[in-house]
Amino acid sequence: MFFKKKATIIITILSIISSTAEVYYLYRLHLINFLYTSSLNLNLARQTIDSSSKNIPFIGIYSPLQHILLLPFIWNKYLWHTGYASIIISIVAYTIANVYIYKSIKLFTRSYSSPLIGVMIFALNPNVLFLEGQTSPELLFFTFSILIFFYLYKFFKEKNKIYLFLISLFSALASITLSAGIIFIIVISGIFILKYTIFQKNLKKLEGTLITFLFIAILGEFYTVIYSLVTYGHIILTPLYNGFSYIHSNSIWVYGMSVKTISTYFSSLKNILGVTLPITSIVSIIFLYLSPKKRNMYTLLFFLLTPAIYYVTLLLIGNIKIQITNGVIIDRIYISSFFILFESVTIGVFLGVIQDIRSKKLNSLKKDITYLSFFLVLVIYVYMIYQGPYIQRNKTLINTNNLYTKSAENFINKKNINKGRILIDLSDTSQLVTLSNINLSEIVDENNIGIWEKALKNPGKYVKYIVISKTQSNPLLSIVYKHYRIIFNNKEYKILEKV
């Protein structure tokens, strides 16, 4: 089925060639697994096999799908150390994403060239290519995002119920690839509610469809809650840890680093292709609406609701700082990932629309809207180029702090503080957690600022030790010092013990 059409085979072959070339390029520049999160992810997966403390429970400390997929390869020490274990997964994910971007654009256009250009926009995006050589879940997330979009369209258009299963499955997989995957569950449920209440007024169908969809789609979140309960013994504290309110403070750095690293090549393209904008989704809708072939209102809603709900959620939770820099909203890589996909689909469809205009298949009003939209996009991109790159580059590189981490780790291991619960911030991606021999069930991980603050109000209730990273400066810490004494301090970490 996958290789039914020649174009699919061609895209598959080209994807494998381009990704292999990219990996070779990164290898020559010693940039394979350059991001520190890469080694953390590899180690997390490996610890499932050979940790002295826990085995299976390691699958789940972080969104687990990537680590599960790594398991068949991570057994091999060579693949583990070199990081090639993850490159195999990346290449497959990248290829599938390319094929489905092609297929998605093909749904909306009559031409063959515009889907190919759309694929190229995604496939040759320097950030995407850079991720090929890193062990990070973003590429997988891209793949699930496009698969969800594609099958959502098919479900609404072809009315084949098997697609509902696929949408649910990929939503569940997306939610265990990155915590932001929950957005898909919310958005798709929202679309169903709109469709069956407002447009079709069929509440029975809404009930059936929602239950059928959610039964599979929420399994990922269900897993997270169960994991939290089993590993940490808390169900209230930890759902937020892996939920959508959870902040990956370093992910913007991942994205920033990737752009920075490859700024030496494609430097002129990075602003145009690498940057993202919420407005892209609105423009996407305009183009998709104009697309002469089989447009579908509910699929278009997907483009609108996904970023909208995401931002609203973040604002409501209020513990993420949406930074406005140079007039452009920036956020972590997840939101960027949506737009990288949106861009490719949008531009592909746009080209299809243009071809239709040239072949006089559109009426004059639609023509005007098309040109206006194009003009709008152009203005935005020119403005962005004028403003310069928006990505912050001043994030601390943990590589430079390796020594501090190492010394803290030595302290933990030698002093054997693992005799009571430890409250630790930023631990999900902290090398301290993955390198030191801490029993995970003893860690109360508070990366969420809101919960961290709550935890600091009375930590004595449930933890004996607190590990605070240097980046944390909170007025509440003064309360903590009354009941805890510093037993370790370096430039990166402070370790406190209950008095």
Partner: protein, 489 residues
């Protein structure tokens, strides 16, 4: 002959008992079953050796085997469902139906075996009369027991049309549905035969569809139709029953057919070529799930079965006791069928089409019984462990087995619940979807019924617990009476 009871005098039993006893469920303990004894003894010996030589606990070994069996069973169902996802059935379009010329249609025999069905006589009459088929080419045989005056009176009251024949069965044992069918088939005038139970309401054009299906597919000897219920909304049990059927007839049987695996047929709404039935020796009168058994036997003899895209609606058993009795009979029949056909396992393997088909049969028929019984045992074990935390239980599940068992338990329950859910959703029965969440409770009932079937199989293998039909009509009448009462007040 019309509207007049007629009775056939039989010279000897062979007139209706076509099956030789070694192919029937009359006696289960036979010399051929000795191999099974050998197998059990060898297994025990193997376990003892395992304990002596490798010091592996027998209990751990058994729990490992069970965990693997569960996993394989799950895998089997997934593979089957994937194959069935595009509804691989024989479909007849409306266009094709319109093209049929009346004169081309053959005589079609409908056999309706009745016993104490006085409640639904009106319904079956209406259902049969509304079938879209020339009446002069319909040959409807109603079989009746000599002593069943209730049904006979109800028939008299309802005045059946000319093409209904009433056949009085010989008053000899066994007094079962398959015996009735065996008697009736000799009287059938048509080359195609279908069995409708008392409460069945088939699609109006089902016979025409079946005729075209037989005509277009001369290689197929049996067409199984899709079953549904007309009293789904009656209560939670009927909803769950319907969910189970939606999965079974839309996602399971078509998948089995696609793989050419043996198909356990249903007891009604199955269309046969008469010569196929006769040549295999007709139904086994001693088997309480004669439908399942004949499906397997037909396939052993090289006859092919396919699924016809046409619905027959039946009454979902709506009372718990009725449901348990019905399910006990089905499961007992599954046990009988498994034993009868696996008396000569190698011969069976060769006839059924090789190891893959053998395994397919194993999972579909005896596997279902085994899983149901194991489910009950495991649920009890889990509850005891949760209450007592007995170390003897936890020691039987070392980590790797515990992980496999846990994953299979969790994934299995989720998967089978979802399959039920997907089945009803595909049939656009959106209101039933929510009830599917209760499927695990339904399976506990199923396990109970299967355990009951096992006990019955040992102590009374041929007893037939009849399903009472027409409860939905009673409820309707009750409702009407209440309404009338309320109005009069």
């Amino acid at each position: 002959m019309a509207n007049i009871d007629y009775k056939i005098n039989y010279r000897n039993k062979k007139d209706y008992l076509f099956l030789p006893e070694n192919h029937s469920a009359k006696k289960h303990i036979r010399i051929e079953n000795i191999w099974f004894l050998y197998f059990v003894l060898s297994l025990i010996l193997f376990l003892v050796l395992l304990k002596i030589i490798f010091n592996i606990s027998i209990v751990i070994f058994i729990s490992a085997i069970i965990a693997i069996f569960y996993f394989l069973f799950m895998l089997f169902k997934v593979v089957i469902v994937i194959k069935a996802r595009n509804r691989p059935m024989v479909k007849i379009s409306r266009k094709d139906l319109l093209k049929i010329k009346k004169k081309d249609l053959p005589i079609y025999t409908i056999i309706i075996p009745l016993y104490r069905e006085e409640n639904v006589i009106k319904q079956i009459k209406k259902a049969m009369m509304s079938i879209d088929y020339p009446k002069e080419k319909l040959d409807i045989i109603i079989t009746l027991e000599e002593y069943d005056n209730y049904t006979r009176e109800a028939i008299e009251e309802n005045k059946m049309p000319k093409y209904f024949r009433r056949l009085i069965l010989p008053n000899v044992n066994p007094k079962t549905k398959p015996k009735a069918l065996n008697v009736a088939i000799r009287e059938a005038k048509g080359q195609f035969i279908v069995i409708y139970d008392a409460e069945i309401v088939p699609d109006k054009n089902q016979l025409k569809k079946a005729y075209l299906a037989f005509k277009n597919h001369p290689e197929i000897s049996v067409f199984q139709t899709r079953l549904d219920h007309y009293n789904v909304k009656q209560n939670i049990l009927t909803n769950l029953f319907n969910a189970e059927f939606s999965f079974y007839y839309d996602l399971f049987l078509p998948g089995l057919q696609k793989f050419n695996l043996p198909i356990p047929l249903s007891g009604h709404s199955t269309h046969f070529r008469k010569e196929a039935i006769i040549s295999v020796g007709a139904w086994d009168p001693y088997n309480v799930a004669e439908d399942c058994e004949i499906g397997i036997r037909l396939q052993r003899h090289g006859y092919k079965v396919d699924i016809l895209d046409s619905f027959s609606k039946e009454e979902a058993t709506s009372t718990l006791s009725g449901w348990i009795k019905q399910r006990t009979r089905w499961m007992k029949g599954f046990i009988q069928t498994s034993i009868v056909h696996m008396r000569y396992p190698i011969k069976f393997k060769n006839q059924i089409g090789g190891w893959i088909n053998f395994i397919g049969f194993f999972f579909a028929v005896p596997g279902t019984v085994i899983i149901n019984i194991l489910n009950l045992l495991y649920w009890i074990l889990l509850i005891i462990w949760l209450i007592t935390k007995a170390p003897i239980i936890s020691s039987s599940f070392p980590k790797p087995i515990l992980y496999i068992s846990f994953i299979t338990f969790l994934a299995g329950n989720l998967m089978f619940t979802y399959l039920n859910l997907a089945g009803v959703y595909r049939r656009n029965k959106f209101a039933v979807v929510k009830y599917c969440i209760l499927s695990p409770i339904y399976w506990i009932l199923l396990s109970f019924a299967t355990s009951r079937a096992l006990i019955q199989f040992i102590f009374s293998p041929h007893s037939w617990e009849k399903t009472v039909h027409g409860t939905h009509l009673k409820n309707k009448n009750d409702r009407k009476e209440n309404q009338n009462l309320a109005l009069s007040k």
